[in-house]
Every structure is written in structure tokens, then in C-alpha cells.
């Protein structure tokens, strides 16, 4: 499903070069629930950005469903992100000027053909129902709690029915009860067939996934299958 081969990522400014990732080789199959852990600055988010096609590697290859995407143009990358990938961010990244329903609709705005007008609304409503927020559709993000915002973000990530969901510390800004609720939703999505890759600092949350990849100083230092109950 997602394959990273010999990935290297270097951030360059006029004076400094920072090696963020080096020699990353990773394959994530369909239906997996993978967590990525490591200390701050070890390259977890960079890795997630590369898998999500939000950034390009300095060297190496990224493959999604067997297609090498490294040389794709902006338009093709955008189409691929739109169709195959959903994102959940630690700080939710909702657009405060739009209602909950309008926020959830965003991925469908850029999808050609099947999702237009009323059917877009319908899909967005269904996604919100799935995360238990059908009663907050007309609210604005500023009127919601942290947990509710993250559920809206999950609804937005799943509205286009992507096969991959990338979550960057989805429980990082939430208390443990709310974090558990979010993890339950992610598990449910995984059970329905979505591949989920989650960056986290939280060992407890990581242990609830099926596979744990550990990074340190830009390198992959561990990759283990977990026994979950």
C-alpha cells in the first residue's frame, strides 16, 4: 500500500543543512494500524508528511499502491491525496470561518464527478453521524470542545472514503478520556478496512495499534508487531 525506499530528507537554508530522515525503508500494507513513535525532532511528522505526499523526499522513492509518486506533478499529487489519503492533525486544522458541515465537505470540493451539490452535503452529514456529531453540523469550530473538533477533523478525513488515514498526534491535545474516544473511532475505521498510520508520543496509545515503528534521530530504529487485545 505505502512503500518508502531509501528515503532521505534534508532541510536546507542558505547556511544550514539539517538531516531530518535518513535511509528509511518501510512498507505498510492495506488494513494495518501502525503507530510511529520517537522523541521530539526525530522526524516522525516529516515521515508522515512524506507518506501523505505533503512534502517530497530529498532522495529515495515513495510508492502508493504500487505507483511511484516521487516525480508526480502538483495536480497528480493533489488528486492522489484527495482520493486515497485522509489527514487528522494534532491541532485539528479546521477552518474557523466555515461551519462544521462546510469543513467536512472540503475534500469533496476537489473531487470531480461523483460528489457534487446535494450528494456532497449527504456524504458530509453521514461522516458527521459516524463520529457522533450530527447535532453540531451548523456550529462553527469555535463553538466546539477539543474532542468535538478532533471528531470533526476525523469526519473530514473519512468523508471522501480514503483507503489511508494519516493521523499526526490525534490525541495530543486531548485529555485521556477524549483521547480514548478518538482511538475507539480510529479502531472502528481500521476495522472497516482503512489503513491507519498514527504518529504519537503516547506509549499507551501506541500500544493500542497493531504495529509500532520507532524513530531516533532521523533513522528507523525499531519496527515491531504488537499483540493488542
Amino acid at each position: 500500500m505505502i512503500s518508502l525506499k531509501n528515503i532521505e530528507k534534508v532541510y536546507r537554508t542558505s547556511t544550514i543543512e539539517t538531516l531530518a530522515l535518513t535511509n528509511i525503508n518501510l512498507y505498510i500494507g492495506a488494513g494495518e494500524f501502525v503507530s510511529i513513535m520517537g522523541p521530539s525532532g526525530c522526524g516522525k511528522s516529516t515521515l508522515l508528511n512524506l507518506m501523505g505526499l505533503l512534502d517530497t523526499p530529498s532522495a529515495g522513492q515513495v510508492e502508493i499502491d504500487g505507483q511511484t509518486v516521487t516525480q508526480y506533478r502538483d495536480k497528480d499529487l493533489a488528486r492522489l491525496r484527495n482520493q486515497k489519503i485522509g489527514f487528522i492533525f494534532q491541532s485539528f486544522h479546521l477552518i474557523n470561518d466555515l461551519s462544521v458541515l462546510d469543513n467536512v465537505e472540503i475534500p469533496l470540493l476537489y473531487r470531480k464527478g461523483d460528489a457534487v451539490g446535494p450528494s456532497r452535503r449527504q456524504l458530509a452529514q453521514e461522516a458527521l453521524e459516524k463520529v457522533g456529531l450530527s447535532n453540531r453540523m451548523k456550529h462553527f469550530p469555535g463553538q466546539l470542545s477539543g474532542g468535538q473538533k478532533q471528531r470533526v477533523a476525523i469526519a473530514r478525513a473519512i468523508v471522501g472514503r480514503p483507503s489511508i488515514i494519516l493521523a499526526d498526534e490525534p490525541t495530543g491535545n486531548l485529555d485521556s478520556a477524549m483521547g480514548n474516544e478518538i482511538m475507539a473511532i480510529l479502531h472502528q475505521l481500521n476495522a472497516e478496512g482503512s489503513t491507519i498510520i498514527m504518529v504519537t508520543h503516547d506509549e499507551t496509545m501506541a500500544k493500542k495499534t497493531h504495529r509500532l515503528v520507532r524513530l531516533f534521530d532521523g533513522s528507523m530504529v525499531g519496527d515491531s508487531i504488537l499483540q493488542t487485545n
Binding site: 505533503l54 495536480k75 488528486r79 486544522h93 477552518i95 465537505e105 471522501g160
Partner: protein, 415 residues
């Protein structure tokens, strides 16, 4: 998608009222100036009362006689006879009218002196121009042949001369320069800016003071040559110029023997430009350069300011750009989003500008600064205004949008 963009644009406007005020103030003020200028320009050169057929009329206003050595030029209006011989007898036009420029005259009502402008015209003048007769009718060929002492006056002059009385004045007598005339008609006056129709009083050209019998080429008359349709104008001009070329100029005037004679017959816009440039093509180029520069100052500088303002406003929205890109918005779509938003905001500014312009134009018309001013926002001006808004929106939105749409997604999400 469009609704989503407009919703966002509206929310962005509401987010920072002061920023919004500055933006809309800049846009609406600039557009107001542009629309008022366009309206003034239209007032000056468009086809308006009573010169509603300008678009299909050629103007013969001036002749220029140059001596053989090209050291002397004698230019001015023409004699009635000259225009009768060479313009009135043209075969291609629908109508040709010969009339004098306006002359200053005085009239006395009791002890009160009224300064007025008067003009001598033929009967065709009233068919070429579309004056609205409030009372009576124009003088006709019979009045002219009889040498009747009749006059058509404007409503403004009527008010002055008859002391604002509302009574009908056709058949009454007016004394101008110690000559008594019978009022035959009262027309709604023409603005002072329309030099071929502006006057307070119109007399038949057979009036003893008109000097219409002069045998010289030069004189105080001019002509309007009206075509059936605009497309006929080049053929009429060709016929007229062929006649002018055949005019013998061997014994015209001392010092101009074997010189050359130029008489232009031109559409109003060309005539207008020639008046401004005194017929010098270099001056026309300078005129266009000046207009271009003024337009640049009027549009370019506010656009640059808006670009600056928009860049900082859009930078605030980096996170939104990142989200949209992450969920599949290609650069081109984002580019359009920002351009559409900007055009939407510009159109709000444009709507305010139209209201301001309407108020300003109403003020100018009502103020009496320009006699009979009839500035308006007609369909043409409205369409031009919309185009100006569109150009303004595009210009001021494109650069910030380009800059924003190229933002790296990961960086944008960190903002």
C-alpha cells in the same frame, strides 16, 4: 465550490473590520474616480442629447490654408457659401446642416442686461439634432426663404428673459442687439460642453447679422454631415475629400497662392482629439501617453497597495491553504479561489463605488457647474465599470494568490 469561496471571502471581510474598511475604501474611491471620469468622458464624446446621432455624423469645423513655402497657416471656420458648395451638395450623406459657431450677444429686459449665446442655422439643423421642443416648432425652409425675424430659444433663456413666468412664449417678441424677433419655439437647452448644439438662441441663417452672403472661403460656419448609418462615414469622407482636392486655390488670398487647403470631415472622437492636439499626431500620442499615465496612477498605484494588503491578509490564511492543499486542492484551483474572492470583494467595492458615483453625478448635474449637465451612468458606463472592477480584482488578487498557492503544504500547516 463557488458558495464556499464566497462564504470564506465574506467571513474574511468580517474578521478584521478596519482592514476591510481600508480595502473597500481604497477600491471604492478608486473606482468612483474612474467611473466619474468615464461618465465625464462619455458626456464629452458620447452620443447624447441633442447630439444623439454623433456616432453617424462627420464634423466639418475648420479649414487650414497653408502657403506654398509652408511658412504660413491660416485656419478657421468656413463661409456659408463654401460649405454649401462643397458639403451641402454631397451625394452620400443622409443630411447636411450648416450653422455658425455661437456668438456672444446682449439682450435687455428693462434695466437688466442678459448675456447670451446665439447661433445661425439652416432648417436641416433641427433634423440632424434631436432637440426636444417644449413649445412651438423649429423654423423651416419657408421662414428662411422669407427672411423671417424668428428665433428658437432655450428653456433657460426663456426663464431669464421672461422672468421665470410659466406662461407660453411662442409668438411673443424678444429684443436682442436692438433687433426684435418672434419666438417660434422653445427647446430644452444643450450642455455647454456640446459645442455644436449649445446656444441660448437660434436664428435662421438669413438673419442680417449672419454674414452668410460672404464669398470668401473662410467665415464663421461649420457643418455636420449625417450618414444613414455609421458604416457610410468612410465613403462620405472620401467623397468630401475628393471635392476639397478639386478646389482651385490659385487666387484665394494674398500670400497663399498655390498653397494647399485642408478641410477635415471627421467623426466626433477624432475631431475632439484634434482639437486637443491642434491636429498634430505627436500631440495625439502625447495625449494618449498622458491618459495612460493618469490611468496607471489611478489604477496601478491602488492595485499595488491592494496587492500589498492582500499579501499580508492571505498570509494569515496559510493554515487554510495548507488544509485545502492537503485534502486535494491543486495549485490552479487555489489560485482561482483567491482570485474569485478578490473579485467578489472588488465587486462589493464596485457596488459602493456605483452608489457614490450616482450621488456625485447627481450632485454635479444639480449644482449647475456645467449648464444642462446630463452626466449619467448608462449601460455602457455600467459595463465599463464592471470591467474595471474585474481588471482591478484580477490585478490585485493574482500576485498574492500566486504566492500563496505555491506555499509548501507542510510549512503552511505549521503557520
Amino acid at each position: 465550490m463557488l458558495t464556499n469561496y464566497i462564504k470564506i471571502a465574506w467571513k474574511v471581510l468580517l474578521r478584521h473590520p478596519f482592514y476591510t474598511f481600508i480595502t473597500l475604501f481604497g477600491i471604492s474611491l478608486t473606482l468612483t474616480v474612474l467611473i466619474v471620469l468615464t461618465s465625464l468622458m462619455d458626456h464629452l464624446i458620447g452620443s447624447h442629447y441633442p447630439e444623439t446621432n454623433r456616432f453617424r455624423t462627420l464634423y466639418v469645423e475648420r479649414m487650414a490654408l497653408t502657403n506654398k513655402e509652408k511658412t504660413m497657416i491660416n485656419s478657421g471656420s468656413m463661409s456659408f457659401k463654401f460649405l454649401t458648395d462643397y458639403a451641402k451638395t454631397l451625394k452620400t450623406p443622409e443630411r447636411v446642416t450648416i450653422f455658425s459657431g455661437d456668438h456672444k450677444s446682449n439682450a435687455y429686459v428693462g434695466a437688466q442686461k442678459i448675456e447670451l449665446n446665439s447661433r445661425f442655422t439652416d432648417a436641416e439643423y433641427w433634423r440632424v439634432l434631436n432637440f426636444e421642443f417644449i413649445e412651438g416648432k423649429p423654423f423651416n425652409e419657408q421662414n428662411i426663404a422669407n427672411g423671417d425675424y424668428v428665433a428658437v430659444i432655450t428653456d433657460g433663456f426663456k426663464k431669464q428673459y421672461f422672468n421665470n413666468s410659466g406662461e407660453l412664449v411662442v409668438g411673443k417678441r424678444i429684443d436682442i442687439e436692438n433687433v426684435s424677433y418672434t419666438v417660434i419655439g422653445v427647446v430644452k437647452g444643450s450642455p455647454i460642453t456640446r459645442m455644436f448644439s449649445y446656444s441660448d438662441v437660434f436664428f435662421p441663417y438669413t438673419n442680417p447679422k449672419s454674414n452668410y452672403r460672404s464669398m470668401e472661403y473662410g467665415g464663421s460656419y461649420m457643418a455636420m454631415v449625417q450618414a444613414k448609418k455609421e458604416a457610410d462615414l468612410p465613403a462620405i469622407n472620401e467623397e468630401f475629400q475628393a471635392r476639397i482636392k478639386r478646389i482651385p486655390i490659385t487666387n484665394i488670398e494674398a500670400g497663399f497662392k498655390d498653397g494647399s487647403l485642408e478641410v477635415r470631415s471627421e467623426p466626433f472622437v477624432q475631431y475632439f482629439l484634434n482639437v486637443l492636439s491642434e491636429g498634430d499626431p505627436a500631440r495625439v500620442a502625447t495625449f494618449y501617453a498622458i491618459v495612460g499615465f493618469i490611468l496607471f496612477m489611478l489604477i496601478g498605484l491602488p492595485v499595488l497597495n491592494l496587492v500589498n494588503l492582500n499579501v499580508s491578509r492571505i498570509l494569515e490564511r496559510a493554515s487554510e491553504i495548507g488544509i485545502r492543499k492537503a485534502f486535494g486542492a491543486p495549485i490552479r484551483t487555489l489560485l482561482w479561489q483567491f482570485i474569485i474572492e478578490n473579485i467578489f470583494i472588488t465587486f462589493i467595492g464596485g457596488a459602493i463605488a456605483l452608489m457614490l458615483t450616482y450621488a456625485l453625478i447627481y450632485g454635479i448635474n444639480a449644482s449647475g457647474w456645467i449648464a444642462y449637465a446630463d452626466l449619467s451612468i448608462n449601460a455602457n458606463i455600467f459595463i465599463i465599470s464592471l470591467l474595471i472592477c474585474l481588471v482591478f480584482g484580477l490585478l490585485s488578487g493574482l500576485i498574492p494568490a500566486l504566492r500563496m498557492s505555491k506555499l509548501n503544504i507542510a510549512d503552511a500547516l505549521k503557520a
